[in-house]
Amino acid sequence: MARPTSAADAAGLGTGRAIAFVLPALTLIAVFLVFPALWTIYLGLTDYRLTGTAAADPRLVGTANYTGALTDPRFLSSLWLTVLYVGGSAVIGQAGLGFTLAWTLRTRTGPLRRAVEGVVLLSWILPSTVVGFLWFALLDRDDGTLNALLHTPGLAWLLDHPLLSIIVFNVWRGTAFSMMLYSAALENVPPSHLETARLAGANVPQQLRDVVLPAIRRHILTNLLLISLWTFNDFTPFVLTGGGPEGRSEILPVYVYRVALKDGQLGAGAAISFLILLINLVLALAYLRLLRGRRQRRRHQEIAAAGGPPA
């Protein structure tokens, strides 16, 4: 006989079995996510190093690593570089270019669309090291392809414009995801709505603002959430510039690498990692809040339209 189900127990499993079902997943999360995070917090409070006496016998140093990081001009400049990198390459670059591609290609079919999609996808699926090397060969000062094409021998793109270089690189690399997500989202916009708007005399910007954006707003937010987090933690620019010259493209993941592994300060590295974790959490919460705000407002609207809450 089936158990009586309630709103709180839709599957009708009962508490015991429900726990048994989620336990394996929770254990994995605890072992591979929660424990390392807690361990990072602990390490961040010590002077633990990769080599030397502090490697054999680390001591607790309180919040010294955190105050050290927050007062280190290199950390602050690195944080600012990361903000510019995420803003420039993910939010403006990938999302913008991805949407533009999706919008222009939405009505097209046939070889052109397949070719564009293929090329964009290809840059996304190639391994980072391969892509990094290709871009290095493109932008190199001495024998770079770009200098050969532009007839500008000796122009050091990676040294004179390190941040711009990695931003353009990351736009090129990551646009595919946004493009695919937006293509799928645009298919959900009812053609009749667009048709109506056109008949009412709306031009393209007006159509985008009043018809398309409201319909795909949640897709946009989800996309921005994902790509900002990915970009925030992206290490690939290291392949291109190594964080240089003299730290001018040292975004946070590269900064952590330098502090923790190159300089061997594992304790300080852990502290900075934890700071990055916090920043990521704040980012994620902000986006989720926006998403939930939308959803609740819509439910309120539906409820209002249905004439009050159900009995």
């Binding site: 990769l50 080599t51 240089g244 592994l261």
Partner: protein, 455 residues
């Protein structure tokens, strides 16, 4: 999910059963494996060393130890990355049995407990090894920390100025050149520039070149200005000698056009400096003899120069003025060298020592030098072999008596990074005084306060 096929499963079970039988029977020599790790790889970095290990060491050692299998674990990466990898290996108590390390890392690895004195790992036979009497005390020092021997030195090296004789002739400079002061170097650079040489002087600078900046650049200059980085328990801060050294950087990179500042900032700057010298675009380059034997070596070098022996000259690095160097010297140099250590977590420490001692025997050293002449740790072998290469004989006879070594202290690598950052600041346009002041502040933070710094 598809399940693995039945024969495959049976095979796995059989294999498990067989191996468990094998290990259950007590110590069994047939399963003994030793591993050698080094930052060398065939067809890449230090290829001749990798070839020597694979084609000579392993077969010869296995001949006399029939039940032992020796494996080689190659790497071909930047020294800093190799160091991180080895440190992580040893931290997790794994890794190869015999490991190549830069001598300068011995202190910090020993302090971390990653390596132990050779006698503790290899047993009492270590002290009786015949090779000790063949290795000069200064070279043994590369593997010594706190008075204990942690590693066997592989050899040593020296820093000189390499110059392109073809470019020198073009600029009207003598083909046999020995500068007597820093001014002589600058003068030669100016002449080269006037003759249209793109990069007259390459003096390693910046953080991208890592230790090469410190060892080939700042430390020889500092020695030429009369100071060592660490003397009498104190680190050298923004002293007059340090400012002199940084001021020379400023003369080369601060708008004079004698050096190429961008090359110091590039991620692959050092490799490019090699290639450019080989292409005849650099006039004077400060490097270790490694450059001669491994980089521009006509056959196996990474940037080979077919006419190396005719076209490339070498000169001692002069002091700022004659007599202003350390110990009142006219010329200076810096030396370092790699060592091989035993992994204290090795399963077969005694056997690992046998392998290590074998790799440093006279026969093995000679076999290695057959692939590439270099200054080995062993006097008996050097006497025999070095006559084959006048450049290396020059290093051994004329440069090593003048040389100095870095302090084998755990904090040294951080000091070295601070020195690299000081040169980077000068290259990117700041004055020598500003760079020295910033360096002093950073140094005090690293070595525990102004009391440990001399200025």
């Amino acid at each position: 999910m598809r399940l693995p096929s039945r024969p495959a499963l049976i095979g796995v079970i059989a294999a498990l059963a067989l191996t468990s039988c094998g290990t259950g029977g007590g110590p069994d020599e047939s399963s003994t494996t030793l591993t050698i790790a080094a930052n060398s790889i065939e067809g890449g970095k230090n290829a001749e060393s990798a070839q020597w290990i694979k084609q000579w060491v392993i077969p010869e050692f296995e001949k006399t130890h029939p039940n032992v299998k020796v494996l080689f674990q190659p790497s071909g990466v930047d020294d800093e990355q190799y160091k991180t990898k080895i440190a992580l290996d040893l931290k997790s108590r794994t890794g190869a049995d015999v490991i190549d390390l830069d001598g300068i890392w011995v202190g910090e690895f020993a302090q971390a407990g990653y390596i132990k004195p050779l006698t503790e790992v290899g047993g009492a036979t270590v002290e009786q090894w015949e090779g000790w009497s063949q290795i000069p005390q200064a070279v043994q020092g590369l593997g010594i920390f706190d008075g204990k021997k942690y590693g066997l030195p592989q050899g040593t090296d020296g820093r000189v100025l390499f110059y392109n004789k073809t470019l020198f002739t073009k600029a009207g400079l003598p083909a046999t050149w020995q500068p007597r002061s820093w001014q002589d170097i600058i003068d030669a650079g100016t002449r080269l520039k006037a003759a249209g040489v793109p990069t007259p002087i390459q003096l390693n600078a910046g953080t991208a070149m890592g230790e090469a900046t410190t060892m080939q650049g700042l430390l020889p200059l500092l020695a030429g200005a009369g100071a060592e980085i660490y003397t009498a328990g104190k680190w050298t801060g923004a002293s007059p000698a340090m400012k002199d050294a940084l001021a020379l950087y400023q003369r080369v990179y601060g708008g004079s056009g004698l050096g190429d500042p961008k090359l110091q900032q590039e991620a692959k700057g050092r490799d490019k400096s090699f290639a450019r010298f080989a292409e005849g675009k650099i006039g004077i380059l400060a490097e270790s003899d490694y450059f001669w034997r491994s980089v521009i070596e006509p056959k196996a070098g990474v940037a080979p120069m077919k006419d190396r022996d005719q076209a490339v000259g070498y000169a001692k690095i002069p002091a700022k003025q004659p007599g202003s160097g350390i110990r009142g010297q006219d010329y200076v140099s810096m030396s370092g060298g790699a060592v091989r250590v035993l992994n204290p977590f090795s399963k077969n420490p005694r056997l690992a020592w046998d392998l290590l001692a074998f790799m440093h025997s006279a026969a093995a050293t000679k076999a290695q030098l057959a692939g590439q002449v270099r200054i080995s740790a062993r006097t008996d072998v050097n006497d025999e072999v070095l006559t084959a290469d006048p450049m290396l004989k020059y290093i051994a006879d004329d440069v090593l008596p003048l040389t100095a070594y870095r302090p084998g202290l755990a904090v040294y690598p951080q000091v070295s990074t601070a020195l690299q950052e000081a040169t980077a600041a000068v290259v990117s346009g700041r004055s020598a005084d500003e760079a020295a002041t910033a360096y002093q502040a950073k140094l005090e933070g690293i070595v525990g306060g102004a009391a440990n710094v001399s200025g």
